[in-house]
Structure formats: C-alpha cells, structure tokens
Symmetry: C2
Subunit: 518 residues, 2 copies
C-alpha cells in the first residue's frame, strides 16, 4: 500500500494500527499503587516498580535521581494514582516523568525537520497519531550564511556553538508556537524525533561538522544515540527521549533516511527511487535487498534565492503556470490566491516547461526572441519573460524569468540526470525499471510532475508512478514517534545504503554537460 | 571457603580470580581506531563503536551528549589510540569517559560504608583488586544529632538537604584524602559502591526518611537504581557508576545486605548467622534457601558515646582487658600502644567479662564492693572500677567503668539474645544448629570472642565458628566494584530476607528482661 494514495487521516489510521501493537518512543502508564502495610512493606518506589513491571512486562526499571525525590511527595497524596512516562530501551524501562493522578491523555511528541533553510515541526498526539500543529520557521543559522558551505566554514572557525544555539533557538520557537496553537503545556512533550542532513545533525548536537568538507569526508557521527531534550537544550520535559535519524555519510543525511523510512523502501520488492531535489539533487535507488544513493551538486536553484524572482513555496508565490500556445499569454495560480510576489520552485519548472512547449525557448535554454509576444521585457539590460507586472500601487514587485534562472534550473536538472544515470548504470538498470518514484522535500509537494518530466528533471515515466511524500523528514520522524520499533528499520536503511561519491566519479561531469539541455 | 581464613592478599586474589571472568562495575577498553578513508568513511564515533563492539561483545552502545563533543578533538590526535571507560548494563554498554591514549592503568573504584557515626571508604585499584587507601571520617551529620532518631526528626522538619549535604561533604572529604594518600586523580575514579542503613541510604539520595518512623515503617526506596556520581554530587568522574546496596526494609539496610554478600550466605547449605552489633543489634540467620532477619533496639552502648569513658576503636582506646583473679589488678592493651584515653566497645566487653570472672561483678551487673581491691573509686558520687588513673601531667583523662555503663552493655546483650532467640524459635532451630557466625561492624573486628561469649553477648558456640568480616559494608561493596554480576546476588539477598518486626513481637520484651543478666 502506498502513502501516495493515503490522505492525512488514512495515514494516521494506518500508523495507529501498527502503533497499537508497538510501543511509541515514550509510553505512559497510569498506575494505582497499593497502599503500604506491615504485610506489604515494600518501599514506595519498589511498589511502583512492581506495578510498572506488570504494566510493561519489563523487569529492569531505571530511575534518574531527580525523579526519585519527587516520589514521596507524589505518593502521599489522598489517592495513590500516578502516571509514569517511560521509554522502552531494549529490556530496560527508563522512567522519564512522574505525575500525580491520570495524565495519560496528555501525551505528546514532536517531529522536527532540521532543514538548512527552513526548520519545520509537527506536534503529534501520541495517543491518536494526530498532528495538532505544524509550524515552520526560517533556520536561525541563516544569519551565519545562506548555504551549507558558508556555515561549515563558520563552524571551522570554532563557532560551532553559535550555530548550535541558533538552531536550538529556532526549534524552541517552534515548540512554543506549536504548543500555543494546540494549547498544551510543553512539559507534556516527552518524545522528539528529528531528521536533517548530516551537517544540521552535527550542529544540532553541537559537533563540529567542518571536517566533512575535506576528503575523506568523515562525519563525527552517523548513528546518534537516543539523547534527552535536557542535554540538547530543548524546552520540553527535561528527560524527553530525543531520537535523531542516522546519516549514511557526510553527503547523505537523516532527512533522506527518514524519507526512505516513510517510503517503506525496505518493504518493496519493486525498484523504487527516492528523489529529494533541494540544495542538492539527492536520491536513493533500490528495494528491500539493496539501496544505492548518490547526490549531484545541484546548486540551490530550486530552493529559491537564486532565480531572480524566486520565493519559497509560501503565499504569493506562483506555483503553476500555463502558456497558451496560440496567444503565448501566460496564466498562473498563486499560493493563497493573492497577487503574485514571485515564483516558487514548481512555478519555475512550470514556466520553463511551458516556454519550451510554446516554442519560446530552445533546447539549450535560450529565449527564441523572434517569437512575437508582448511578454519580452528588458530588465537591467537583459531580456526577460514577464509573468506579472510590478504593481506600484500595492507595491508588488514584478515576477519574471531570465535566461540565467533557466540555466540554473537546467544545471540542477543535469545534476539529477547525471546522478540517476550513474546509479542506474552501476546496477545495470534502465529508467523504465523504476516502478515508483517518491519525491520528497517541500519542492516535491508542489511540483507538477508533467512539467518536471517535460524539462527532464524527473525521469520519463508514467505519471502514476510518481508519489509525493510531502516532507519526508517529518513523515519518517512521525512514524518513529509512534512506533519506536521503526528505529531498527532506520538503522538498517542507513547501514544498507551504498553511497556513490559522484563528485569524484569520472563519468559525472560528462553526463552532466550533455544533460544540460531540455 | 570462608573469608575468615583469608588475609587481605588472599582475599584480593580470590576476588581477582572471579573478577577476571566477570566485568567490574566499570570496564576500560584501550582501542586503536582505524583511520578513516574513502573506503571506510564511517563516522568517528561509529568507528569507535565498531571497535567497542568487538572488544565488549555488546551491540547497543550508549553515549551521553557531553562525551560526543569530546571525540573529534580526541580523534584528530597524532595517534588514534583512545581509552573508553564504560559500564555494562545488560545488553547495553554505557560510555562514561573517553581519554586519549592508553589510560587502562588508571582505573579506580571507591567502596563506601555510610555509617551513622563514622563514614569509611576504600580506594580500590580495579585492575588488581588492591586497596590503595582506607580513610574514615566522622559522619558530618553528627552536628544534627548523635543518633538516627534525632536526624530522622530533623529530616521530618524538611531539612533533608542539609543532612544530604553533610553526608556528601563527608564522602567528598574521604575521596580527597584517599586520592591524596594514593596519589591519584579523583577523575580516574569511575565506579562507586556504597552501603549503609536504610536511613543513611535515603539521606545519601536526598530522600526524606522520616516516614519510616511511623507504622507501617515504609522506606521510599529499597532497591536503588545505579546512579551517576554527578547526580549525587560526588567529586569524581561525573558519570562514574554509583551502586548503592538495596535495603530489605526500614530497619534492615544495605550494610547488612553487603555483609551477607561478603559472608556469601547464599553459597552455604549450613546455617549461618550474620551479627552486626552497633546502634542496633541486627542479625541475619539462614542459608542459601532462606534468610531471616531481625533487629533488637540495642541502644548505642557499643558504639561508644554512652559508656562514660567510651571511645571509638581508635589510637588510645583500651581494646583488651585482663583482670588477675588473685591480685584483682587489671592489665590492658591500647590501640596504637600509647597511653589510654578511654575504652572501645571490645574493651568494654572485656572488662565486664573480666570483672564477672574475677567475682567483682554479680550476674545482675552490680559491683560486689566488699571484694577488696584498690580499684574501687568514687567519681561524681558513684562507685566506679578504675582501669587507668588520670595523668594531669600529660593531661590524660581517667579510664574507668560505672554500673550504668555495664547496664547499657547488658541491655544491648539482652536485645541481641532476645532477637536471636525469637529468630531461632520461629524456624525451630537451636543455637547449636548455627554452624558459623559472621560478626560485622568495626565493633566485631576488635571484640574478643571469649569475652563476648562470657557475658552472653555472643551465642555459646565453639570459638572457631566465629568469623570476623571486619567492615562488612566495605567488604561487600568491594566485591561489587570488582564484579558487577554480584549486583544480582545482592538483590536476591534483599528479596529473600524475611524481616521479623521484633519491636512489635509479643515475646521480645519478656525474653529481653530475663536476658539482662550475665
């Protein structure tokens, strides 16, 4: 069964089916502790542990000192009802919170996508699997550099902690906003699952990622142990269990592993492709028996910030464009149905595809200017194709596309094509062998598959083979919040992946150059 | 094989035999981490974990965030040699320290006896099992009260933390002294094992023990999870594993469990008795199949402080006394071979036994004053038996014994006899069925068995059945430092013990009264 065909609700139900059989990342136990007597003179905590053993089936129960102290107070309440929040850790049960009474109805987890540009979170009700809030924020590290390399360089200067704090603060803002929206107390968040690229993961942990710049491109850590939110500085329950998706190498981060988990790549016999086109064009090809990964340095074209009128997929961004082949007049749809302020990645791909199909663009990505349309304009001395005029009245900028923008997209496309070609070659497969393509990243959500195929960014396959995961990091993270057993699967994915270092692959540049055409 | 017949050295060897097969409370692994390459591009910590898995045979390795940060620094040293200090936790390995190079030769543990009056420690070299230093200090809680009840009352006032700090400070002083004597760095102490009565255990943890005063006499905790020294405030390696012996109830603490472990009571078919005569007369009777425990409120007679000239077993204390039946003249030996300043418990018992045998004392503990000896004196209006005159020149006090002192000792004796009688009755055994008597506590070390038998404090058995454990808490604690598998045995002992609540036992006072005679 494919996520593609599932709405949010069906997905939730599917997850809950599984979840009921498996423990979530944290579990709550409502206990009625027997009153002590001369015949049952076990210690308070020993009586709690006896009840916990029955409830959990685990014999080894670990308490931190900070919680032992809270007990006498809790237990001498009129009733002996308490709720224990705990984490299953193999044959251990780790107690992470104790509350008087029954608080099982307040059991929350946080899924986090540690994006280089945008950090997104989902506040999950662990009982129901429902998402209660899904805020996102610009990554506070932006002030230290737009792109990863700048931040890696900054980290190399010994300022890792500044970057860590910027990221942690962003996450804490998201926690605040999410709890505000849902109207819950942050201290009831007892589980966190985060996914990000290898650099973001390192900075989240306060580890210096700068070594990863030089050969042999070695991260400090791929498989991160479960930590507590207190260690990390997250403002929720101090002992909240925090799982961070493993990386498979410097260039293949937990975000992709989370996507593969959400795509259930290990469940399939059929060949599947996970395609995450963001700062890099990253992909994982394979099935339950093998996973092959590669990344083509794509440049940030599709994340916005490079195309002159680029915007992130946010209200005001043009996300769909059509150009009438007869009139050569464009029409477009704007996120939020307001006046356009720019183009998001999907709009960018649409307009290129439409320009080409309308004969306004040649295969090399150059405008065919003798085609007569009143959309040709000159901006700063260059010819551009104008989508929406500036509106000085309401102070709205013009939205147009330049040949340079198009070259950027074509470079990205070429990188993706080169990477995919090499991956397929190395296992002797053809594009047509790919039974399903999972597209991840905010980019993939909005992208019109036909346009992406038209310009060659997506492989030429029947459109019904394409499945949008939405935000793969968040989707994978949520699954682990609700089913800790999936941690094992995430490890297997990370360990199974063979990473092809394309930057040093001889064939790459050659294919890249020849693929820079529509 | 009985500890009794083992000197310190043989004991150490015996322990080491076992220890080599079993992991100590913490284990050190010296690793040579393979240098990374494009072919081995695992993360630094992942490469360390791979080496650790081979070395330890454990797959699940847990790191605290605080140590992850130290790695890159450590690993980019000229050599990739590091030493990991870790604790085995079921199928887990918990990393607690990382050092560059090979530090396996600096691997130390601390055994602590959390005594109400005196806190004693042993600094143990975990490689060899040798004791490097064995300092002791008066328990800093003394300023809040000489005896347990006063401190329990003080704790009930909400001043638990003052008592905790006083105890922790005492332990930190001991750590300082021990490390000074041995010339080692406290940060190389990675394991601690402590034993104390249930009240001391609670105060060590900062838990309020005052509930234990009232029926149903319930402690907050009997089985204490392994904690870190950092949580407790001990000034050694912050993540040092700290194991605290479990209690079997409010009146049967970890000190007795530690003694039973050292006495290997679960190894014996034969009936054994563990006798710890301190503030209370506590005892455990049984064999590998059953353990029965009881405590008679003995009063602090034998811990010094009550007998007028009482001293702890320290230099200057008279520890042996003989009275010549003909001349009725006393002779004595003094700890440290210096002039006497008082009587320790063993001296106290000796002098009573000798007075009785010399016909200077009747069976009720009254002086027979018409017996003619120039040792009768009058001090503050009471007749006393003078052992050593005051020496105003060197400002030494007189050492003598009063009838009140003797009554105290006889009360203690009566409590011990009453407790033992009831324990034996309840399992239908006679004194003669006891094959071995382990005496624990600093008191038991010095006590002359024949004198203790003479006044009826010890059961009437062949003297070769008596075995002195010395400090049972320290001996048991050391065994666990060197062999973590013994933790399971300590739990079994605590769980196996049936505690007879003698204070509420009808027969107790009756036997007590009739036993208040020599």
């Amino acid at each position: 069964m494919h996520l593609a065909y599932l709405g949010e609700e069906t997905l939730t139900n599917l997850i809950m089916e599984v979840r009921c059989k498996m423990p979530a990342l944290t579990v709550k136990y409502h206990l009625d502790i027997p009153t002590p007597s001369l015949n049952n003179n076990k210690g308070d905590i020993d009586r709690i542990n006896a009840s916990l053993e029955r409830a959990s089936g685990l014999r080894r129960i670990h308490w931190p000192l900070s919680l032992l102290g809270s007990i006498s107070g809790t237990l001498w309440l009129p009733s002996n009802q308490i709720t224990i929040t705990a984490a299953h850790d193999g044959d251990r049960l780790r107690v992470i919170a104790v509350d008087p009474g029954d608080t099982t109805s307040s059991h929350f987890g946080l899924a986090i996508d540690l994006g280089t540009t945008v950090v997104a979170a989902e506040l999950i009700d662990i009982r129901t699997g429902q998402c209660l809030a899904a805020p996102s924020e610009v990554n506070g590290q932006i002030e230290y550099g737009e792109d990863l390399l700048t931040r890696l360089h900054f980290a190399g200067q010994g300022d890792v902690d500044a970057l860590r704090m910027a990221l942690i603060n962003t996450v804490n803002q998201l926690i605040n906003r999410a709890c505000g929206i849902a109207g819950i107390d942050p201290s009831h968040i007892s589980a966190v699952c985060a996914a990000g690229n290898t650099t973001m993961t390192h900075l989240f942990l306060g580890l210096d990622p700068s070594h990863m710049r030089q050969e042999p491109f070695i991260p400090i850590i791929n498989h991160v142990p479960i930590l507590t939110s207190g260690e990390l500085g997250l403002e929720i329950a101090p002992l909240a269990q925090t799982y961070i998706f493993p990386s498979a190498g410097s260039f293949l981060g937990g975000d992709l592993i989370a996507g593969s988990l959400a795509a259930r790549m290990l469940d399939h016999d059929e060949i599947t492709l996970l395609l995450d086109i963001g700062t890099n064009g990253e992909m994982i090809l394979g099935n339950k028996d093998w996973l092959l990964a590669g990344a083509g340095a794509a440049g940030p074209a599709l994340e916005g910030g490079v195309a002159e009128c680029a915007r992130r997929a946010e209200p005001g961004a043009i996300e769909r464009v059509k150009i009438d082949p007869a009139t050569l007049e464009p029409s477009y749809s704007v996120i939020g149905d307001i006046s356009p302020i720019g183009l998001c990645g999907s709009g960018l791909v649409d307009v290129i595809a439409q320009l080409y199909l309308a004969g306004l663009l040649d295969a090399t990505g150059r405008f065919i200017l003798d085609k007569d349309t009143n959309r040709w304009r000159t901006v700063n001395g260059r010819t551009v194709y104008m989508l929406a005029e500036a509106d000085s009245a309401s102070d709205l900028p013009a939205t147009y596309i330049t040949e340079k923008d198009i070259q950027n997209v074509l470079r990205t496309k070429a990188a993706v094509v080169a990477a995919l070609t090499i991956l397929l070659d190395s296992v002797g497969l053809a594009v047509s062998d790919i039974q399903r393509v999972y597209t991840a990243g905010s980019f993939g959500v909005h992208l019109a598959v036909d346009s992406a195929i038209a310009i060659g960014l997506y492989p030429k396959l029947p459109t019904d083979r394409f499945v949008s995961l939405g935000n793969g990091s968040l989707r994978g993270a949520r699954e682990i919040l609700l089913n800790a057993e999936k941690i094992e699967e995430a490890c297997q994915i990370a360990d199974k992946i063979t990473y092809l270092e394309l930057n040093v692959h001889p064939g790459f540049m050659e294919i890249f150059r020849s693929a820079k055409y529509i």
